[in-house]
């Protein structure tokens, strides 16, 4: 009997923090509410570290109470720990704790302080439930729970209509994904008779690898993928994530960058056995990942709102993780998930610090014009940590993102051949774009405007982009303080920045010598007879590997260089380029009009049909109309009857009596006959 790890403590502590602040938060002041919120997330981190310390390394199952017991269905609240869930738990609690700490400073001037911390704790509870669940249904509970937490936190500044709408959009789009996820769960139960990971994987592993699109495991994998697309904001269900930036910036960092949006990757990696049996489904995962990576990166190139740049980069980076899963390199995907959690959380917190410094301004060009001499002079810690994070996401050698992105591109290259290499090439181009738009953001935000730069660089049309309004993300405008000059953030905000900067810089070395991949490998092939570690194909010699590595580095440096040239050296060039291809520029600048497309094709017709055809037409017209018709017909039949119908309600009692009499007479006739 293995030792009891008390895994439940990790989510349980977050739940306790949530409940305490929910019940008592209104009574006690900001300082206690903040201390409880941060304290319980810190305790959860300690509990997670304690669990990690005592864990033996073997998959660990912690039984708990029964949730469902009906017919053949038996589902418990049991938790499960293996290398994958351990890593996820540490990421969630670690990054979560730092972001809680940061929020103390960031949210200090906002109303609803206790509400904020209790909801942030609630999110951690659901997220930890998601990653520690021992069966698919409990995972789904966490999955829906984080969806709710995301909805409510996006709409945290609920007085603003845009925030409320963005929350709804996030929840509804996620539910579209969950629709597929649910059907996938049903099919899992129909095929394997259980939701337990062990049972499902053991039974799935005995099935043959499927070819084509009709096998049961392929269909399961595709349905689960629909859920993952919604949660992880991949094509075509990514549309909610940019709008989700209406939430407070630490929320964007925690939920919409580091943890929740990567849940889809976690779920696919968790279901590795199922995806292993379906090359067709995996090829779709690869294609969607690569297309999303390049698609979102291309939009990021022209965004002006710093949070939206980061939002599109999140979508794009998760695309890389999907690519990794698509070639069955789940370890590489999870590795990138981890490094991304570090550097993207850092980027968002840095952006938050910038917004804080600029009193709510989010447009990078306006930030530049409002901070004379460059923002880096006023906020050096924010600047240098932002530089580290930018290097990490761009894949500058030595930083964490370089290791994971290089690994993914290498694995994609190794697993594809011929025309399949197009996905690898797209990934490479996306890496170039990533480096370009991230360094663009860095140069424009923190450096002084170069001589001769137009006020709205790379923005010849002159129209204001949506969502880049002043005070966009920093709370209620009336609460925002107005200072004269930008300023560095307080220590409670810079310490998390520094902590994450260390992780973003050095996190890549966790996989030195493929240690992380070896550590994770058992989670992806839990059955003994499966291959524990996937060898690389023979054509991937050291020489080819080095060539690929050089290519990745060259691409990243190329992006950096282009951004340098366009935004530091030749500030007019960007505008000239944009004017050269106005159609393409407008297409990309307006994000390919995808939102407008969905509105016009889906939402508006649906609303119109519901209103005019179904409600006014069918319901008011046909159904209620026929009722009136029946009533009217009766009225015309007899004057006496009319008196009864339109008369006092009391007479209806008499009607019942009359009916009962008739019944009794009839029954009497039956008996006496």
């Amino acid at each position: 009997m293995p030792i009891n790890l008390h895994l439940w403590l990790v989510p349980g502590l977050c739940l306790a923090g949530f409940l305490l602040n929910l019940v008592f938060g209104r009574l006690w002041g900001k300082s206690i509410a903040g201390a409880v919120g941060v304290g319980f997330s810190g305790l959860a981190l300690l509990a997670a570290l304690w669990v990690a310390h005592r864990w033996s390394g073997a998959p660990y199952i912690e039984p708990h109470a029964t949730w469902f017991l009906a017919g053949p269905l038996r589902v418990s609240f049991g938790l499960f720990l293996d290398p994958l869930s351990l890593l996820m738990m540490l990421i969630v609690t670690g990054v979560g704790f730092l972001i809680h700490l940061y929020s103390l400073g960031y949210m200090s001037e906002e109303g609803g302080f206790y509400r904020y911390f209790s909801l942030l704790n609630l999110f951690l509870f659901f997220m930890l439930t998601l990653v520690l669940a021992g069966n698919y249904l409990l995972l789904f509970a966490g999955w829906e729970g984080v969806g709710f937490a995301s909805y409510i936190l996006i709409g945290f500044f609920f007085r603003r209509d845009a925030a409320a709408r963005a929350g709804i959009k996030a929840f509804v789009v996620n539910r579209i994904g969950d629709f597929g996820f649910l059907l996938g769960l049903f099919l899992i139960f129909a095929r394997f008779g259980s939701f337990n990971y062990q049972t499902v994987f053991a039974r799935a592993a005995t099935l043959p690898v499927e070819s084509g699109w009709h096998g049961p495991l392929t269909v399961i994998a595709l349905l689960l993928l629909v859920g993952a697309l919604g949660k992880s904001a991949q094509l075509p269900l990514y549309i909610w994530l940019p709008d989700a930036m209406e939430g407070p910036t630490p929320v964007s960092a925690l939920i919409h960058a580091a943890t929740m949006v990567t849940a889809g990757v976690y779920m696919i990696a968790r279901s590795a056995v199922i995806y292993d049996h379906s090359p067709a489904a995996r090829s779709l995962v690869l294609a969607i990942g690569a297309l999303t990576a390049i698609f979102a990166a291309s939009i990021g190139v022209l965004q002006r709102d710093i949070k939206r740049i980061l939002a599109y980069s999140t979508i794009s980076q998760i695309g890389y993780m999907f690519m990794a899963c698509g070639v069955a390199a789940y370890g590489a995907g999870v590795f990138h998930l981890m490094t991304h959690a570090f550097f993207k959380a850092l980027l968002f917190l840095g952006a938050g610090s910038v917004i804080h410094a600029m009193h709510g301004e989010q447009d990078i060009f306006r930030i530049r014009s409002l901070a004379p001499g460059g923002l880096k002079r006023y906020a050096p810690i924010t600047f240098w940590t932002f530089v580290i994070a930018t290097c990490a996401i761009s894949g500058i050698p030595g930083f964490s993102g370089y290791f994971s992105k290089d690994l993914i591109l290498e694995r994609v290259f190794a697993a594809t051949s011929g025309a399949g290499r197009i996905w690898w090439a797209l990934g490479l181009v996306a890496a170039f774009l990533t480096a370009f738009y991230m360094f663009r953001a860095l140069f424009v935000t923190f450096f002084p405007a170069p001589a001769g730069a137009p006020e709205s660089a790379a923005h010849p049309t002159g129209q204001e982009p949506a969502g880049a309004a002043a005070a966009g993300g920093h709370g209620n405008p009336e609460n925002a303080p107005r200072h004269a000059l930008p300023h560095e953030s307080p220590a409670v905000m810079t310490i998390p920045l520094l902590g994450l900067a260390v992780l973003a810089a050095l996190g890549g070395y966790l996989n030195w010598g493929d240690r992380l991949l070896h550590f994770l490998a058992p989670a992806f092939s839990p059955t003994p007879n499966a291959v524990a570690y996937r060898p690389l194909p023979p054509f991937l010699t050291a020489g080819v590997q080095h060539a690929l590595m050089a290519l990745t580095i060259a691409v990243a440096l190329g992006g950096l260089l282009l951004a340098w040239v366009l935004y530091r050296r030749r500030p007019r060039a960007a505008a000239q380029w944009a004017e050269a291809v106005p159609g393409l520029y407008r297409l990309v600048f307006n994000k390919y009009w995808v939102d407008e497309f969905f509105d016009a094709v889906l939402i508006t017709p649906l609303r119109a049909i519901s209103h005019w055809v179904l409600w006014r037409g069918v319901d008011d017209g046909l159904i209620a109309g026929s009722l009136r018709g029946i009533g009217g017909g009766l009225l015309k039949t007899s004057d006496g009857l009319r008196r009864q119908i339109s008369g006092s309600l009391r007479s209806y009692a008499a009607w019942i009596a009359a009916g009962a009499c008739a019944a009794v007479i009839y029954m009497g006739w039956l008996t006496l006959r």
Partner: protein
């Protein structure tokens, strides 16, 4: 006699007696307090049922049987199974909620309002516990009158029309049911549900049913129409939006939470259990109606401008899902359907409580009159969100359990049905979140800003509902245990297999096996 065998009678007698007393005393102040006390007593007593129900034994328990009209073999016969007992508990709870809402000091209700509510409670408990078809029919019809009066006297501006429509339309359905009951008596010579069940359903699997298949089909339809109107099932919901929106909030709690379950209860107890083959033969068209209800109700709810109608159409959608659970005949689906009846009753009651609380402050149910309520009523907003999430089927709350079991069960039977039904999970968040945004979020208008926060009495009620939703969401096995036996009977797989796989062969076997007129009539 001991409590075990008279408990159901006590449950009927207490509200009945309390109602009569209130009629006699004729004091509104007395009625307000006394009716709440009586309903609390009934609720406390009703908890005896799940506490002492023997789930491993299953079947009808707490039975009591007295002769009523011997000449026609009519008995005063009571008893509940797992289905009936939860419906009885739900009814008792709903009246506590309704009377709790109504007992506020500012209420202008006269004593008659409270007396009628208690009378309605007695009738509804009778519906859920009677085992004699005439007694059932009597209670069924009897429940109609107080509700129609409650709507017609204390309802909104269009109350007269709503009451008349409600009364006439459900009465129309009842006529078919009465005809079916009498015809059934004519064929079998019995009004006893258990006798009929034994003779019709259990023996039908041995091909010795006393009924011709055509007769069974017509009888099934006679019952079904009454129940489909009462529930309501699309397209029989013509009376519903108006009745829901015109009824006083306290009555709406009962109407949406409890009376809709009378129809579903009837489908399970009478349609499916008495005519299992007919139910399976007609399953496909009924499923289509249920599915249309889910999608149609969700879409129409999405474009509503008034809260009560929004809840009405969302109910249509949720009830359609329960119909799907019933008519896919799986153990999981049936358990989920019964669980969801209980669960939806509580959710619908909760939603009308929310509306009632808003109404008392703003005298409006129009979405346009609200916005920013979270500013003036933050605690209320919290409860609003919990109840809204339960309605949307968020896991760990009660709405998810039933929804999930129904969808899973129907998926096991028919993939396509479950896939269409599951669109409800998308539609429900669409209309519920739209409602939430229009009510809670945004800048409050001056009128909304003046709305006072939640009172202690209201807060306690909502807190209890929220806790109940959470408990039902995480401790579902406790609630499911009594349901399992009756769900097993509802979903007998052998029947489904025979009726669906060999549609031509099997009915022919039991159809003509016996001449219709014989059977049990000889035995009386």
């Amino acid at each position: 006699m001991n409590l075990h065998n008279t408990i159901l009678t006590w449950l009927l007698l207490i509200p009945l007696a309390a109602s009569l007393l209130i009629f006699l005393v004729r004091s509104a102040a007395f009625a307000r307090v006394f009716s709440l006390l009586a309903s609390l007593a009934v609720f406390a007593l009703s908890l005896y049922l799940p506490w002492r129900y023997n789930s491993s034994l299953g079947g009808m328990q707490f039975r009591q049987r007295l002769r009523w009209i011997p000449a026609f073999h009519i008995h005063y016969s009571l008893g509940v199974d797992g289905l009936g007992l939860w419906m009885a508990v739900l009814t008792a709870l709903l009246f506590v909620i309704a009377l709790w809402l109504a007992c506020r000091r500012s209420s202008s209700y006269s004593h008659g309002f409270f007396a009628l509510l208690l009378l309605l409670e007695a009738a509804m408990l009778g519906v859920f516990s009677s085992l004699d078809l005439i007694l059932f029919y009597f209670c069924w019809e009897f429940s109609l009158v107080p509700m129609a009066l409650l709507i017609g006297i204390w309802g909104g501006p269009a109350r007269r029309r709503a009451a008349v429509r409600f009364f006439l339309y459900t009465m129309l359905g009842s006529v078919f049911m009465l005809a079916a009951i009498l015809w059934l008596y004519h064929l079998t010579g019995s009004f006893g549900w258990q006798t009929l069940h034994r003779e019709l359903a259990l023996r039908s699997s041995t091909l010795a049913s006393p009924l011709a298949s055509s007769a069974a089909l017509w009888l099934f339809l006679g019952f079904f129409i009454a129940f489909a109107i009462k529930t309501p099932v699309f397209p029989f919901h013509g009376w519903q939006p108006e009745a829901y929106s015109e009824a006083p909030d306290e009555a709406a709690v009962v109407l949406a939470g409890g009376m809709s379950k009378m129809g579903l209860f009837g489908m399970l107890r009478y349609c499916v259990l008495l005519f299992p083959f007919a139910a399976r033969q007609l399953a496909t068209p009924i499923l289509v109606l249920g599915l249309i209800g889910i999608v149609y109700g969700g879409l129409v709810a999405y474009v509503q401008t008034g809260m009560k109608k929004l809840v009405a159409y969302s109910s249509l959608s949720h009830l359609g899902l329960i119909v799907v659970g019933i008519f896919t005949f799986t153990q999981l689906g049936a358990e989920g359907a019964i669980y969801q009846m209980l669960s939806h009753g509580i959710i619908a009651a909760g939603l009308f409580c929310l509306i009632g609380i808003l109404w008392q402050r703003r005298q409006s149910c129009e979405l346009a009159d609200y916005g920013g309520v979270a500013v003036s009523m933050p605690v209320f907003a919290g409860f609003f969100i919990v109840i809204m999430l339960a309605a949307a089927g968020l896991p760990l709350l009660n709405g998810f359990v039933g929804e999930f079991l129904i969808l899973l069960g129907s998926f096991l039977a028919r993939h396509g049905v479950a896939a269409i039904a599951a669109t409800g999970v998308i539609l429900s968040v669409m209309y519920l979140l739209r409602w939430t945004r229009a009510t809670l979020w945004g800048e409050p208008s001056a009128a909304v800003q003046k709305m006072p926060g939640l009172g202690f009495r209201e807060g306690l009620l909502l807190a209890m509902l929220a806790v109940l939703m959470l408990v039902m969401g995480v401790a579902s096995p406790w609630f499911l245990r009594p349901i399992a036996p009756v769900a097993g009977e509802l979903s007998q797989t052998s029947l489904t297999a025979t009726a669906l796989r060999r549609p031509s062969a099997s009915p022919a076997g039991w159809v003509e096996a016996r001449a219709p007129r014989r059977g049990m009539r000889g035995g009386r």
